[in-house]
Each structure stands twice: as C-alpha cells, then as structure tokens.
Assembly symmetry: C2
Homo-oligomer: 305 residues x 2
C-alpha cells in the first residue's frame, strides 16, 4: 500500500515512520524539517522501542508527490484551508484520506471540498512530541481508532487496519460519530481549561473545584453528543476518562502547547463546531461556550500582538 | 449622629471623611494607616473637590472606640470572621450597622452573629482607591444605595439618608434584595472574569467573544435573582450596565486588585453564596459556577505558594 503523510509532525511522522519501517511505501511531506530529514533521516524515540529511518521518501512540495492509496492528514486543523493545495496532487479515484485531527465536523467539511474522496477519522490516543527537527519522542499510549465516514469497501478497510497492526500500530475500526465525540470528551475538557488557567492536566485534578469542573465539562460533551443522536456515551465514560487521566504523568494537551508557543489554537473544530452541532440539536453547551469565548479572548490577545 | 468606621480603606475612609467634614462625629478604626493618620490626618483627592481632615478621631483598637449610632462596615468580606471582635465594642441597643460590602447573603449571616442589631446593605457605586497611607483617590461616581434589611424605624432611616446627603454623599433608600442583586449583576460578571483572563474591564468589552460572554454572565445573575423571587431585574438592566461600562475608563474591579496583590479574593460572598441561593431556588448558574471554580483554582495556586 502506498501512503502519503501530509503534516509530518509528532503524529504524522510517528505513524508514517512505523509504516515505513514495516516495509510500506510511505511518502512524507515535510515543511521546516525537510532539509534535515533528507540529510539525517527520521528518528523515533519510543517507549515501545526506538528506531531510525536512514532513508526517507521526503518531499518539500506536494506537487512532487505520487498518487497514493491512503493519505494520512495530520495537519493542525487551523491549517485546513491548505488541504485543497496539499492534498489534491496525491489523490486518485480510489484514494482514501485518514484525518488524524482533533475535533468535530472535519469529515463533513472535507467532503465539501473533496466530494468524491473516501474519508476516515483517525483518533490517536498517543503522547508524542516533535522534540527537534526529524526527531519524534513517543512517551505513552499509541492506539489509533479509525472511524469510517463514507468509504464503501469493507474488505479494504479491514486490509488497512491489518497493514497498520502489522506495522505495530494498535489500530481498531470504530463507529465514526461515537469515536469523534468520545475523543471530544477528553479534548474539550482539558485542552481549553489548561490554556484558560495556564496549567497542566494533573494540577486541574489536584484542585477540588476544578476536578468538579472537569467532570461537569465532560458531562456537557456527553449531553451534547446524546443530543446529536450519538450512541455509546454515558456518564461512566466521563469517570473512566477522569480516572485514566489521574494516572497520567503531568501533561500539556496540544492546545496548551500551541498556546505556549503563541500559535493559533484549534478553537474552531475543538469548540465552536461541536457547540454549534449540539445547539442545532437543541442542547446549549453553556460551560463549553464560555470556555470557547475565553479561548478566543486569549488567542486574540497574542495573535494581535 | 455618631458614626463608627470599621475598615477605613478606599470606601470606608472616603464616606467617613465626607461625614466628618460635614460635622458629624466620626470615629475611624485604622489598621496599617493608624500612625500616619494620627500624625498627618486624612487626605481625600476627589473629582468632586479634594479636602484634608487635619484632626481625625482615629483608633488602632476597636476596644477603645465609643458606642455609635451607626457603624459603617467596609471590610473586605474575606475578613467577616473578624466582625464579632471589631464590631461588638461599638454596639449599643439601637446601633445600626451599614454593610458597604459586595456580595449576597451578608446581612443574613450578620444577624446570625448579631441577632438584635439592625443592619442595612450599602451598595457603593464609586471608583476610589487608597493610593498611599492616609490618602484616598476618588476618581469617578460616588452614589451609595442603602437597602434596609431589618431596621424598624423609617423616620430614623430617612434621617440617616438626609445626614449623608447633607455630607455630599449621594445616598438613596432602595429595596434591599433588589439592590444587592443589581450590584451582583456587574460584580459577578466583571470581578471574576478580569481575574480569570488577567485583564481589565474595557478589554473584555473590546473582544466580540467576551462581550457576548459578559452579557450572558449578567443574564445568568438576572435569572438567578428572578428565581430567588427578587423583583426589578430584567434584560434591560444587563444592557444598561454594559453600556455604562463601555463609557468607563480602563478599570480593575476590586477582586482584580486583590488578585494583583495576591490577596484572598471575595469568592464566597460574590460567587459561592449567590450561586447557592439560586440553586436552592431551582436555578443552576452554570457559567457562574464555572467562573467560581476557576477563581478557586487561581486563588489556591497563589495562596499555597
């Protein structure tokens, strides 16, 4: 299977490197790391075993890339407007696109731009960071849930999952909407609140007031999902996520990392969009709306600087 | 009329000085400013005309103060536990106590400690700051709304208002519950949000997202007041408060000043108590609860330091 990787950061480079190491034909689009990777290859420091790719099929321009069977998009969703340019050269009639991105509404928007392309949601439960050019540190977890949005060929879907599992990626096929909203439960709680309070996940759970708030925020996402008719989310899920999080080491969610670097935050797909979806189904996510508004204020204060 | 002033800061010293200048018999309890005021008197720099009191009846210990007809309490509500000690020496059978403090539930708690004492709510609409020991800067507004909680003598109440107006204080008699909740509309919105986002009032209204949030926060207080059966608050009031605030100069509410100095914040009477009152009447102030929880997190992070 030929893979393309658009967005070769902490997530894209990690999964792409795993596939390449396993012998798949993987083509990476790099931005700032291009020169370094051409010269030095790609290093993955992983809790499951570190490895180095000496020779990487790296590109600096999407126009130079070949048509692919599967393209993994691991761009920040703040760059979604670039997809038309970056992705089009890689697409053939039966290309599938796997959006490993956070938020709600990404596939719905994708098919507006690419109405004839099959698209899958990728939900990565992984702690990985690009620590230097061409170096990814993978410190915890790694599971990749794949939710089919509009792909018609079940056999090929299972084949994709098999290829990934063969490459040492713990991939599972899951229900699309359930998977996206389940991930939103954790993301909408911790991404925004660590930014709003300029803190880390563990500190929020160490304080009685914000521990309560985190659960209420999670419950609001679950209520929102239910309003949208999404099955498989209930109160237990919030408690499971909280208990899992209590066992994690001090951790800054991706939005907090973006904030720390004064980069644009993924407010739209992580907050505005799911809030609007729930509202369209009659449920007001009041706490989440407030958090979204706080994040917009915070982002405006440094983007305008 | 003999007045006592407990809490001679930006508010207490200002109103006390106005009364003293007008010829009333005013006795001030000072804490850190005591020595300075004994030596240099009290200076009020006011938009309505500055003046200086050369001789001030100042005390460093409430035990030394005389019994008073009216005691103005202008302590931070975080010091409410000191009232028993500070106030008792000044009380006689018919002393009235005017609580010029922010929040909801202050008079209800006061009568638990002083069941036989008449108590009034004082709602100060004033921008004043203690800039140096013995110096108060009064930069804007000045109105004092007085809400009767349990005082029986209407003639005496009007007499008190007359004495204050004669002293150049723009005092009015208003409905107790309405006045307290009306003030809460502004306070609960701007005090907490300027701390949570570490900003000033004008910046919140300059950003579209937080401008919307401010109105939603105000509406939540109005809904809470309505749930508690308080008359005279409707949607118009939020818009009037927002329009008034848009005309104000850049301003840090008192809680923001406390935060900037890493002092305890008045979270209990400004947030926890009104939220609990509304909840007891069946209305959940969800945004306000979230703001309260954020404030508790923020306060814990510096009080523990």
């Amino acid at each position: 299977m030929r893979f393309g990787i658009i967005g070769s950061g902490a997530i894209g480079a990690y999964y792409g490197a795993k596939l390449a190491k396993s012998g798949e034909d993987v083509h990476f689009l790099f931005h700032s790391d291009y020169d370094y990777v051409c010269e030095h290859g790609l290093q993955v420091n992983s809790v499951n075993g570190s490895f180095h790719l000496d020779s990487v099929q790296a590109y600096h321009n999407a126009q130079d890339m070949p048509k692919c069977d599967v393209v993994i998009v691991a761009l920040k969703s703040t760059n979604e407007h670039l997809l038309k340019t970056l992705l089009s050269p890689l697409l053939k009639e039966d290309t599938w696109v796997l959006l490993i991105q956070n938020g709600i509404g990404l596939e719905e928007d994708f098919v507006k731009t690419f109405p004839h392309t099959g698209v899958l949601a990728g939900l990565a439960f992984i702690c990985s960071t690009k620590t230097k050019p061409g170096v990814v540190d993978h410190t915890d977890l790694g599971r990749l849930n794949i939710g089919n949005y509009n792909c018609k060929d079940d056999d090929r879907l299972h084949q994709l999952a098999d290829v990934m599992n063969h490459a040492g990626i713990d991939a599972s096929l899951v229900d699309h909407d359930t998977a996206r909203w389940q991930k939103a439960v954790w993301n909408m709680c911790f991404n925004g609140l660590t930014v709003a309070l300029n803190t880390q996940v563990d500190k929020l759970l160490d304080c009685e007031a914000t521990d309560t708030l985190c659960r209420d925020l999670m419950m609001e996402v679950i209520e929102g999902a239910r309003a949208c008719g999404v099955a498989g989310l209930n109160e237990d899920y919030a408690d499971r996520m909280l208990n899992m999080t209590r066992k994690m080491r001090p951790y800054s969610p991706s939005m907090k990392v973006d904030y720390d670097h004064r980069r644009p935050m993924e407010i739209y797909y992580l907050y505005s969009r799911p809030i609007a979806e729930a509202q369209a189904h009659g449920y007001e996510m009041r706490r989440m709306r407030m958090l979204e508004e706080q994040l917009l204020f915070i982002q405006q204060s440094y983007i305008n600087e």
